[in-house]
């Protein structure tokens, strides 16, 4: 398994060194070649899965590009060619997934997540605002108690500061 992986990696490397760059048009008709590349950009290369067959020089990609070229020459539309490929290789061959019931989650999942996140954010913010508005109202007795507590703390702080200053004076 590891050997196989290494081998294919080496092969891929030597291959990419030999043929760096995008697939080059092989035909003299530049308009047709442009169309071939346009259609090929919608088709996934099944050997090198994160590339389109327009980007790839794998042998199968070259074959499939030739098929695309032939079909365009025969006057088929892009839609017909994509259908032809899907009939053989499945939806996976499409670089842009189709919009259908089994792909709704794929298309709208990120939006759903965003909406969920926004919802949590709004709920949290609302709760926080409510908490801020509900400043507890103190009774007169509680006010007196709070003031005395505050005064006490203040007194302690002042004492501490005085001590500190005294110490510094002593040291000098």
């Amino acid at each position: 398994m590891v050997n196989q992986l290494l081998l294919s990696l080496l092969l891929a490397l030597s291959f990419s060194l030999a043929h760096a760059g995008e697939a080059k048009p092989t035909n003299d008709d530049p308009v047709l070649e442009k169309r071939v590349l346009e259609v090929s950009e919608n088709l996934r290369c099944l050997v090198c899965q994160n590339q389109t067959i327009a980007d790839s020089n794998a042998e199968l990609a070259v074959d499939l590009r030739n098929q695309v070229r032939e079909k365009l020459k025969a006057g088929q539309s892009e839609d017909e060619i994509l259908k032809y490929m899907v009939a053989r290789y499945g939806d996976f061959v499409l670089f842009n997934p189709q919009m259908k019931s089994s792909t709704w989650l794929l298309w709208f999942g990120p939006l759903l997540m965003l909406a969920g996140g926004a919802w949590v954010l709004i709920i949290t913010l609302r709760q926080r605002r409510k908490l801020q508005q509900q400043v507890p109202v103190l009774s007169a007795a509680e006010h007196v108690q709070a003031e005395s507590l505050l005064a006490e703390i203040k007194g302690q702080k002042n004492d501490g500061q005085d001590d500190g200053q005294k110490n510094i004076k002593d040291a000098s």
Binding site: L7, L46, V47, Q49, L60, Q67, R88, Y89, G90
Partner: protein, 175 residues
């Protein structure tokens, strides 16, 4: 208390998804041809270029179509299994010699044994495209009515033969 379970639940769901993702093999793409009629073709035979072979000749039989090539390293891995299956007469095996030179293909079979009743010579890989072939070797199980019942992508292993192919062939032969 209830609230603290929510992040944990999200975490668990995420782990389950990632775990499943790790066990999937992205190279194995489900074929849209499953349970559909095997695409028709007419190709010359590898050994006798003046004779043709077509799947409709095999109606009424359960058979394997094995896509192979002499340049394919993985084919060599599964080859002894095919030879053994042919020796035991389990199922007729037909070959699709994919994008291969005739001489190279024939030499390869001489060297490693020939499990195929016949091999079709798909020099330009056109039939391969019709069968959705993207990684040689591939093996199709085709039933009596000419419907593709199973597809193995990559080399077959003793486990695949035991757990999948043999029971399926038996079931299809009885059906």
């Amino acid at each position: 208390m209830k609230k603290s379970f929510i992040p944990l639940a999200i975490f668990v769901v995420l782990v389950v998804f990632l775990w499943i993702g790790l066990t999937l093999n992205p190279r194995e793409i489900p074929s849209p041809l499953l349970n559909k009629p095997a695409p028709a073709f007419k190709l010359v035979q590898l050994h006798e270029p003046n004779k043709v072979i077509a799947p409709e000749h095999l109606r009424g039989k359960v058979w394997l179509l094995n896509v192979w090539a002499s340049w394919c390293a993985t084919c060599l891995q599964e080859h002894p299994l095919l030879v053994e299956m042919a020796r035991q007469n389990i199922v007729p095996i037909y070959g699709l010699n994919y994008k291969d030179q005739r001489e190279a293909g024939m030499a390869w079979l001489r060297q490693h044994g020939n499990p195929y009743i016949l091999s079709a010579h798909d020099l330009d890989g056109r039939v391969g495209i019709d069968y959705g072939v993207y990684g040689v070797p591939e093996t199709f199980v085709i039933d009596k009515a000419g419907i593709i019942r199973h597809k193995v992508i990559g080399a077959i292993t003793p486990e695949i033969v035991q757990d999948k192919l043999l029971p399926l062939i038996k079931e299809l032969n009885n059906g």
